[in-house]
């Protein structure tokens, strides 16, 4: 059976018409989960006891899906891919997950992430490295590595992700699928393990844009447990997608997309940027206006540092609750200080500890103005700049990263100077809380690459609509990673 390769809409029709049953779907999804676990190490937990549900009117009912392991799931291990929570079973469920549960969606596994979402490689989870299903010598990117890997491998039509810098949108690009981060606060963060609260956003990875809209329709909603959530009951994402984009105005940033800005560009980067230009042509063919805009290079260069300072500062505070005292595997020690110290020293990977040090440093009284407050000022400047763009344009369209998935063996990755702003611009979406979606727009050397569309806050419908129209004009919709096209 290859039912799990289908879209949510197709599966719903099959379920309603009795072509397939929910339990058949779940069984297939679980079998594929075990296979993908062997091949790519995408999961922390596979819920073999997942129960089918009665199919109802909701498109998501009876269909299996994956949950990133930083979402709290009552009664099921939720580790954040960290040794510090390797035995943690929450007694409450994240709002986004329980919203889906109420609609009849069936969670079948918990996917691996970079420890607590901190990292962009999918290599720092406590259960080991996640491999890219298109090429197992490459990474999925992160932090939603397991979710991206599983959706691209056809385990189910969608998996939940979370996005603090680009953690949904970059893995989506590296795995040839769709990654959608809605406007900040559209989906409640209650029950999502925090990384950097002012940037953290729940979202989804799917194989087409309409599915992304369906899932976020199910996840979203104001939540009395999250003061940053807002009422979106008048927004119906899926119903609002009509593919009509004539006259829409897009812009792209010259400083990021001009190949002349990269004197030592690799062939991959050249191909990636020229492929992006082809995608812009598609946009024009669809009747959209595309304009090149220029942004102060200094501002673009600051993006990465601003992200590091703010995210590390918030992270070091957010993760201070991890002491091993009231939950998590308690460490040995002669007193509580030693217990906390041993727990945290042994529990966290070195990358996280490095970020905690940075976070503490930038918040120290003597450094706070120079680093933390300046980062907040720069964040405001960058966001203002993008808001200015949104006054004139419906969305900003940009290539994702510098090409296809990177090698896990970093020595094989060619270094390109001045590449940071191109690698990091997706973080701007988190600075402003903007809705942002990545869709696949081609292949380089047999590996998928992606393009990103970002719009103004609360303008999710517009962003999805543009992405949907563009997706429909290209041939990369609903793709399953090469080599995963097996029967189970």
């Amino acid at each position: 059976m290859k039912n799990c390769f289908k879209s949510i809409e197709e599966l719903h029709n099959d379920l309603v018409n009795g072509v397939v049953s929910s339990s058949d779907l779940i069984k297939e999804s679980l079998e594929r989960s075990h296979k993908v676990q062997e091949d790519c190490n995408a999961f922390v937990t596979i819920m073999d006891d997942a129960k089918s549900v009665e199919v109802n009117d909701n498109l998501l009912s009876g269909i299996p899906y994956g949950i990133k392991d930083n979402y709290s799931t009552k009664g099921n291990l939720s580790t954040g891919s960290s040794n510090t929570l390797k035995d943690y079973v929450p007694f409450f469920t994240a709002t986004a997950v329980s919203n889906l549960e109420k609609l009849g969606a069936v969670g079948v596994n918990k996917t691996v992430l970079d420890e607590f979402g901190m990292g962009g490689t999918g290599t720092t989870g406590h259960t080991g490295v996640v491999l890219n299903p298109w090429d197992k010598t490459r990474m999925c990117a992160g932090s939603s590595a397991g979710s991206a890997c599983a959706v691209a491998s056809g385990v189910y039509p969608y998996a939940l992700g979370s996005d603090t810098g680009d953690s949904i949108r970059k893995p989506a690009a590296y795995c040839g699928i769709v990654g959608y981060k809605p406007t900040y606060g559209m989906i409640s963060r209650y029950g999502l393990f925090p990384f950097a609260s002012s940037l953290d956003t729940c979202g989804v990875l799917t194989r087409n844009v309409r599915d992304a809209a369906i899932v976020v329709d199910g996840m979203k909603g104001i939540d009395s447990n999250d003061m940053t959530s807002w009422d979106s009951s008048n927004i119906h994402l899926f119903d609002s997608i009509d593919g009509n984009v004539k006259g829409k105005k897009l812009c792209y940033v010259k400083e990021l997309c001009d190949i002349n800005n990269y004197p030592d560009a690799t062939d991959e980067l050249k191909e990636h940027l020229s492929n992006f230009m082809n995608t812009l042509d598609k946009c024009k063919e669809l009747g959209m206006e595309v304009t090149e805009v220029s942004i102060d290079q200094k501002l673009l260069n600051a993006v990465g540092s601003v992200y590091v300072v703010i995210s590390c500062a918030e992270a070091t505070s957010n993760m201070s609750n991890l002491t091993g005292i009231s939950f998590g595997p308690r460490a040995e020690g002669n007193n509580y200080r030693d217990m906390m110290k041993n727990y945290r020293t042994k529990g966290f990977c070195s990358l996280i500890k490095r970020r905690f040090v940075i976070g503490s440093y930038v918040l120290q009284a003597e450094n706070k103005d120079r680093y933390f407050f300046n980062a907040q000022r720069a964040r405001r400047l960058i966001v203002d700049e993008w808001k200015k763009l949104f006054k004139e344009y419906d969305a900003v369209i940009l290539p994702v990263g510098s090409g296809p998935a990177k090698y896990l063996d970093d020595s094989k990755n060619k270094k390109i100077s001045n590449i940071e702003p191109l690698e990091e611009h997706l973080q701007i979406g988190n600075f402003g809380g903007f809705p942002s979606i990545t869709i696949p727009n081609g292949f380089i050397g047999g590996l998928p690459v992606g393009v990103n569309i970002t719009g103004n806050c609360y303008d999710d419908v517009n962003v999805l609509n543009i992405a949907y129209a563009l997706e429909s004009s290209m041939d990369y919709k609903n793709q399953i990673a090469r080599g995963c096209d097996y029967e189970v």
């Binding site: 003061m227 939950f327 918040l363």
Partner: protein, 484 residues
């Protein structure tokens, strides 16, 4: 005195009677069962988020207004980051002075031994309490019931000069907390905790910050009595250092009050001060405090103790002493006002409450909320005494009986047949009887020795075992003698 002490106070007070804790949905009420009032946020479980309790904010704004502080246009909360087992999130959600907390720069007049003084408030801010810990030999226990309870921290300027001023100020603030129903403000329940800053300076210098001595902060001063002891001890200690020439080498430091030894103990110097790495909590968006809401809160500020006292003296004609006694505790004052509302005479009500009821409460260690006698029952008793149904001596007996045995004064009077003989016919019968037996005294009266009336009235009382109304008896006695 060669030296002058400069004292500042930080007073923490838990807000009572909000439906839930300040950022979590757990109940904010006393719970015998440790860890009974706990939601996931209170233990810092991953993924939990704070939600601000509106009632706690309302009460905080009211306190801020009563302290004459400025209420900001937008409310922000900040994280104070440090590790301690009683702080499950690893940070406390609180407010710093920038951006402005719920109240900044105010002042409060307080009565210090009959003299009005003014205290200056630096700020008042809303924060969450930590969990409570008990340290046993070899292990410690944590109770998260207190974690997340709304806490107001009031910070004064260094504007007090001795423990008397400090105590008078604290008493005044406690009374405001209680009168405004913001807090029970009971230090026995751990609802009030203070930190005290003390320094000394040469008495002849001008009292400006440049001339202040080295600030010593004393933490963990958990009762008003301890505040007085700690201030007195610390002033003495610092004076001794001055005298011995060691004062100038004393560093700015934090000490803690030790209840057992009644001394302050060195904790850390300012150099080792913890950097709390404050930053605005990104989980709580800034909250607009509308001016209409603030006006509404302002209009709802209840009549406070000093205002009630003035009313008792001006309108009811009570003495300063009596009025002071009645307003000391809000529930006593409420009881008094309810009794008057029932129609009792204000002066009598004051007498009965302060002479009988409060004495009884003190002896039995009870609160006025605990007694069976309601304001309306007290009003009945006062009326019975006033209209002569019973004597005031009997009234006292009745009231004690009611307090002791949870009874209604009316039924006690009836059951015990204690009613005064008030009807003229009955009294006349006995007066006639007495006069018949005392012909010689009638003679004496007619001869001008009118004081025999007292003796004759006494005889009537004797015959009625005190139940005859003395006033009526006396008038009737004179009338009857004249007739003879």
């Amino acid at each position: 005195m060669k030296y002058k002490a400069i004292i500042g106070l930080e007073m923490h007070c838990e807000i009572s009677r909000t439906n839930s804790k300040v950022f979590s949905s757990a109940s904010n009420s006393f719970n015998d069962c440790p860890n009974g009032n706990v939601r996931p946020l209170d233990m810092g479980f991953p993924g939990t988020l704070p939600v601000v309790n509106k009632e706690a904010v309302r009460k905080s704004i009211m306190m801020s207004l009563m302290l004459g502080c400025k209420v900001p246009e937008y409310l922000y909360f900040e994280r104070k980051n440090y590790y301690y087992p009683d702080l499950p999130k690893g940070y406390q959600i609180t407010q710093e002075t920038k951006p402005a907390p719920i109240g900044i720069y105010g002042s409060l007049k307080y009565d210090c031994d009959g003299e009005y003084k003014e205290a200056f408030i630096n700020n008042i801010h809303l924060e969450e309490d930590s969990a409570s810990m008990d340290h046993m030999p070899g292990f410690s226990t944590i109770d998260y019931n207190r974690a997340g309870v709304p806490l107001l921290e009031l910070v004064t300027e260094p504007c007090f000069h001795d423990s008397t001023e400090a105590m008078a100020f604290l008493e005044t603030v406690r009374s405001i907390y209680r009168y405004a129903d913001i807090s029970e403000a009971d230090s026995k329940k751990g609802q009030i905790r203070c930190d005290v800053n003390v320094s000394i300076m040469d008495a002849d210098l001008e009292e400006v910050p440049e001339n202040f001595g080295t600030k010593v902060e004393i933490k963990n001063v958990n009762s008003f009595g301890a505040v007085r002891e700690a201030i007195n001890y610390e002033i003495e200690r610092q004076i001794k250092l001055k005298e011995s020439g060691e004062y100038d080498s004393m560093s700015q430091q934090t000490r803690r009050w030790d209840e057992d030894t009644m001394t302050t103990v060195y904790m850390r110097s300012k150099v080792d001060a913890i950097d709390y790495k404050y930053f605005i909590d990104p989980n709580i968006p800034k909250i607009k405090l509308s001016s209409s809401w603030i006006d509404e809160i302002k209009a709802s500020i209840p009549v406070l103790a000093h205002e009630r006292k003035a009313k008792y003296m001006d309108e009811y004609g009570l003495s300063n002493y009596d009025a002071t006694i009645l307003v000391k505790e809000k529930n006593v004052s409420d009881y008094y006002e309810d009794t008057i509302k029932c129609g009792a005479d204000p002066k009598s009500a004051s007498n009965w409450i302060s002479s009988v009821i409060l004495g009884y409460l003190n002896k039995e260690l009870l609160s006025i909320d605990d007694i069976y006698v309601t304001p309306s029952m007290l009003k009945d008793l006062i009326d019975m005494v006033q209209d002569g149904t019973i004597s005031s001596k009997q009234g006292k007996e009745v009231l004690f009986k009611c307090l002791d045995e949870n009874k209604d004064p009316k039924s006690v009077v009836e059951e015990s047949g204690m009613k005064q003989i008030g009807s003229a016919d009955e009294i006349l019968k006995i007066v006639t009887e007495v006069l018949d037996e005392n012909g010689d005294n009638i003679e004496k009266y007619k001869a001008g020795r009118t004081n025999v009336v007292d003796y004759l009235v006494g005889q009537v009382m004797k015959k009625t075992r005190g139940q005859a109304n003395p006033g009526i008896t006396r008038n009737m006695m004179i009338e009857e003698i004249e007739k003879r």
